[in-house]
Structure formats: C-alpha cells, structure tokens
Symmetry: C2
Subunit: 181 residues, 2 copies
DNA sequence: CGGCGTCATTAACCCAGGTTAATTGGACGG
DNA sequence: CCGTCCAATTAACCTGGGTTAATGACGCCG
C-alpha cells in the first residue's frame, strides 16, 4: 500500500515531530520545502485573506500527505497555512532528502506520481462540486463521503471548507432536519 | 520545451485528426483512453447535467493536452465532454502506445510528471478562485490572465466557465463600464 | 459557585446572482 | 431586401447566502 511504502522509505530519513493542537505546520508566505506525512491526528490547509477571512482547502487526517506545490515546483512561498486541528505527529522529509532517496530508489518516483495523480483527481472532484452543485448538495456529499471526518470537525470549519459561512451551514442543517420524513 | 518534446515523440505513433467546430472529441460516459494534444484550434471540456445544464471545466487552445484522468487511472468512463469550439487539429495517442513509448523512452515519464504537476497547480488555482473570490473578481482575473482566450470565446462560455449565468456576466460587464473613471 | 470565552443557532435585513422573458442587433440565407 | 436564428443585453422578480447581532449551551478556570 502506497502510504506504508513511503513510510518505510522515509522513516529514517525524516524527522517525526509532534504538533499540539493549534500549532502551525507551516504558514502562508513561508517556504516549507518539505513533505509532511501525517502519522496521527488531523490538520487543515487553508487560505487566509488580508482582512482575516479563512477559506479551507482541505482536511488531512492520519495517512495523508501534504506539500506546497508552489514551494516544490518553483521555490515560491506557500500560498496557504497548515494548522493542527488535533494533537498530531507528523513525519517530515526535506525535498533534498527526497531527491536523494528517489535516485537510490526509483520505485519511489512511481509512488510520488500516484500521489500527484490522486491530488489532481481530488481537485477535479472539488472543481466539479463548486461548479455544478449548490452549498446544500456539497454538504450532503461531504457528510456521505467523509462521515468520520465530519464527526471530528467544528461546524465553522466544515462551513469554510464548503465555501459558505457558519450561519449559512446552520440554516442548511435546520432545513435538513425539518424536511425529511 | 515540454510540448515540442511530446510532439516529436508522439508524432509518428499518434494520429493527427481534424475536428471541425462543433464536433465532440469525446463525450461524458465514454471511455476515451487516449491522450489528446491540441495542435491547432480550441476545445472546451465541460460537464453536462441530466437536465441539460452546462458547466465548463476548462478551455484548451493549441499547445494544450487533454486526457480523462478517470479513464487513464481507473478505466472508468469520462465524467465530462470535450467539444471543438473552433476548427481544430488534434494529435491522438492511445494509452497503450503511450505506455510502450514510455518504456522505450524514460524521459517521457518526466514530461508526463510535469504535465500532471501543471494540472494539479491549475486546479489548485481554480479551487482558490472559487473559494475566495467573487464572480466579479474571477472575471477580472480571467480577462487579465487570458486576454487572448477571452477574445475567442462567447460570453455564454465565459460565464459557464466562471460558474455563473450569461445574464449575471452581462451585469458584471455593465458595472465594469459604468464604474471606472 | 459565578464569570468568561467559544461555538452553534436563530432572527432581521441586504445584496449578488438565478430565472424568465422581452428586446436588440448582427450574420446568414433565401 | 426581408425573415430567421442566435448571442447579448436589459428588466422584473425571487431566492440563497452574507452580515450583524442577539441568544443559548457548554466547558474552563478562578
């Protein structure tokens, strides 16, 4: 399985670090040229606007992998924050270590390729949901697709992931309770 | 340059086909297990709902590359249509030919990796725009980023790409003309 | 125990965008 | 030159979601 391969390969190269709830993994504007493998816990990746508004890109639970493409590909600062929502432990591998591992261990390329493919597909799915679905439908789908995740999140964070305000989400939930038989 | 490498490699393996304006390259629900390289012209990739509404994923002009990830990765039918907006000529390579080329010619893997990386970044950008920006801001950005493309498109298609109706886009354009000095 | 901060809900009001439909204006073919 | 068709605009009306603010419901801590 993909995750275990990576873990085995990276376990000694990388550092395993604890992130208590509320700590940033990296911040918008920083160059975090590392790969982060979430071993335990839960983090959120989100954009923050100049006027303090928050828009959540994704939640990454244990088993997930994060990297800032802008940093990896062009040495540009990250465009988003990553914050621990629960006490988490994260395996960190620098891009340099990753590159050296990759030459020693060609199959790793295939693993990274798969990761990228998975990322592209996830983002396509999200594009579809924003283009074609109402906030209501996006909420239903999210609950169906990720019930375990939903249980661990605040309504605020769910709303900001769906692209609406907590107030609007609350209205949607109420409609949901009243309508069905 | 990426595109030329691919073209050179694929030119004899693939078939160069003309698509007159209005012809489908492939359709939602079909398995189009090919790579399509747009040599000339312009196509749009879009979702079509059961009730006939259209939501545009992207426009691909000459130089662009299209594939349905669902087909490539999991042999699932494509989730979207691709339609020629102008008379176009497209180089088509089957997945089988691509695989054989890839073993003969390892650097091709790097090219495909770059393509995937570019795709993931484009989709992240689009996610950002839907999450954080108003329709108005999305329109401004699209005009600034792709002036050449905007000139070749109908208002209808631009609107459906931005996730709004042509009526709403028309209002935005009017505001634009009235407001600035 | 009481005060405080935080999150969820609700209400009231506003606005952007959807919907429907009428109008305009080319482009095209007879 | 005159219909026809279709894209674009405009108007009128409606609705979903934003904004602000008030109210509960907890949980925490002094």
């Amino acid at each position: 399985m993909l995750f275990m391969e990576l873990v085995d390969l990276l376990a000694d190269k990388g550092k395993l670090r604890p992130y208590p709830k509320g700590r940033f993994v990296f911040r918008q504007g920083e160059k975090a040229d590392k790969l982060f493998l979430i071993r335990q816990g839960l983090v959120k990746a989100y954009y923050e606007t100049h006027d303090g508004k928050e828009f959540i890109k994704s939640f990454i639970p244990e088993g997930g992998l994060i990297a800032s493409l802008h940093v990896i590909v062009a040495d540009q600062p990250s465009t988003f924050n990553v914050l621990a929502l629960e006490d988490s432990t994260i395996l960190e591998v620098t891009k340099a270590d990753l590159d050296s591992l990759q030459t020693q261990h060609p199959p790793l390329t295939q693993v990274l390729y798969s990761f990228l493919l998975g990322l592209a597909m996830k983002k396509e799915k999200r594009e579809y949901e924003f283009l074609c679905l109402s906030a209501d439908e996006r909420y239903q789908r999210f609950c169906d697709a990720e019930p375990g995740l939903v249980a661990r999140l605040s309504q605020m964070d769910i709303a900001r992931y769906l692209g609406i305000t907590p107030v609007a989400l609350s209205r949607i939930r109420r409609r949901r309770l009243q309508a069905p038989a």
